[in-house]
């Protein structure tokens, strides 16, 4: 069963990736959220938002300068 929420924030300007991440972590008490970003800025901003809401962040680097942020709580 897959209750992993997935968000694609690639190519979006500041602060949209962080806003989308905040909305996602705000809607869930626990679980897994996977967020794709393609800039260092978005990677850092999304990580900060998630960590400040108490989520663990694991970053996987993918080809083409894309990062998959796996948020768990």
């Amino acid at each position: 069963m897959s209750d992993i929420q997935q968000l694609d924030c690639r190519g979006l300007s500041c602060p949209q990736p962080a806003l989308m991440a905040r909305e996602a972590v705000g809607e869930k008490d626990k679980g897994t959220i996977e967020i794709l970003v393609d800039s260092g800025t978005a990677r850092e901003n999304v990580s900060r938002v998630a960590q400040s809401a108490g989520w663990q962040v694991n970053i996987e680097e993918q080809p083409g300068g894309v990062f998959k942020l796996v948020l768990k709580k």
Partner: protein, 367 residues
């Protein structure tokens, strides 16, 4: 290098960048730049527009090496830290227009957010109205973001596209050094193609190599630390994040101290350098600028740094700023120390209508 990278992306990154600007900008004034204009992205793009003959306001024409340095410094950082990523396709023409209107607003106030903070740190209390306007404009932008505003996604682009803005900056550097002249007209006036002011703010500048080096250094730091003078306020409002805000607060405090040490702190409203005392339009101009910067995703400095990283959409915004500065001084929209110009206020009103329509109608990116 990995230590530098980790440090600059930590909470200390924006603080160190703000401190660097706070020391170096007043020093550039000491070394020849106009008052409270150590670094002003809008004023300097305006000077570049004048130097290229896009406007003929003879007092504000010079190719500012700081701008060249800011872009190329960000390019170097992006290459070193493997963040040079050519990309485009996120509403380029809208960004061009936002660049133009941001400059129209900022030139009614007479300064970008960087200079608004620097003016305040130099004792120019007129800047308070500008900063309040800036925060209000960012607030309106935040409302648009809350309603779902988006300029859409950018996509990866060929490498050549990413190199265009850095290459344009190298061309500007060559033009600055060579300053080619095609001759003079019958009245003895230079006919260009490059115009440099012989008096006024355009004639006041720090030595070329020092200004270039400062630009390179700040551009390098800011690319890595994501320093943004608009994002600072925006993130504090919308994300309750003070990460970037500490950078701006550090800039103001350090610039204030540096100005005190250099004897450049002159508190008051009247007779401030390259400034006017019209509170309403100092406020109004920066409402427009703050809104346009927020819709475009960052302050004018940040747009320069992004264009150095290969962001073709930010390059469109920067182009809009330079072309817009040409219009602003050709069509009597830009203020002067004697006050607001004839078409400044109506331009601000038109710009606000434009930005609000864009802000409320462009949306629709789904995850």
């Amino acid at each position: 290098m990995s230590f530098v990278s980790r440090f600059l992306t930590s909470r200390w990154g924006p603080i160190v960048t703000g401190a660097a600007v706070g020391v170096l900008a007043p020093l550039l004034v000491k070394l020849g730049n106009p008052g409270n204009m150590g670094v002003c992205v809008v004023c300097f793009n305006r000077d570049i527009a004048g130097a290229l003959g896009l406007h003929r306001a003879g007092l504000v024409q010079y190719i500012r090496p700081e701008i060249i340095g800011l872009v190329l410094g960000a390019l170097v950082a992006a290459l070193v830290f493997r963040e040079f990523k050519p990309r485009t396709g996120s509403a380029p023409f809208v960004r061009f227009m936002l660049g133009m209107f941001s400059v129209f607003g900022a030139l009614v106030f007479l300064g970008c957010p960087w200079r608004a903070y620097l003016r305040f740190a130099g004792g120019d209390w007129n800047a308070v109205f500008g900063i309040v306007g800036l925060v209000a404009g960012i607030g309106v932008g935040v409302l648009c973001l809350r309603f779902g505003f988006s300029l859409g996604r950018s996509n990866p682009a060929p490498r050549a596209l990413g190199w265009l803005m850095p290459a344009a900056m190298v061309v500007l550097l060559v033009l600055l050094i060579l300053a080619p002249q095609f001759g003079r007209d019958a009245d003895g006036n230079a006919v260009g193609p490059i115009f440099f002011s012989s008096k006024g703010p355009g004639s006041q500048h720090a030595p070329l190599l020092i200004a270039l080096a400062v630009g390179l250094f700040i551009g390098f730091l800011a690319q890595r630390s994501r320093f943004c003078t608009v994002g600072a306020v925006r993130d504090a409002i919308i994300l309750r994040s003070t990460h970037l805000l500490y950078g701006v607060l550090t800039l103001i405090v350090v610039a204030f101290i540096t100005n005190l040490i250099l004897g450049q702190f002159k508190p008051g409203f009247a007779n401030q350098p390259v400034a006017h005392t019209d509170a309403l339009w100092n406020f109004g101009g920066m409402v427009l600028a703050g809104l346009a910067f927020t819709l475009a995703g960052g302050c004018p400095g940040r747009q320069l740094f992004l264009s150095g990283e290969g962001d073709g959409d930010a390059a469109m915004f920067v182009s809009g700023m330079i072309i817009g500065a040409g219009f602003a001084h050709t069509y009597t929209m830009a203020s002067s120390p004697s006050g607001v110009a004839a078409f400044g206020p109506i331009t601000v009103v038109i710009g606000l209508v434009f930005c609000i329509v864009i802000g409320l109608t462009m949306r629709g990116v789904k995850a």
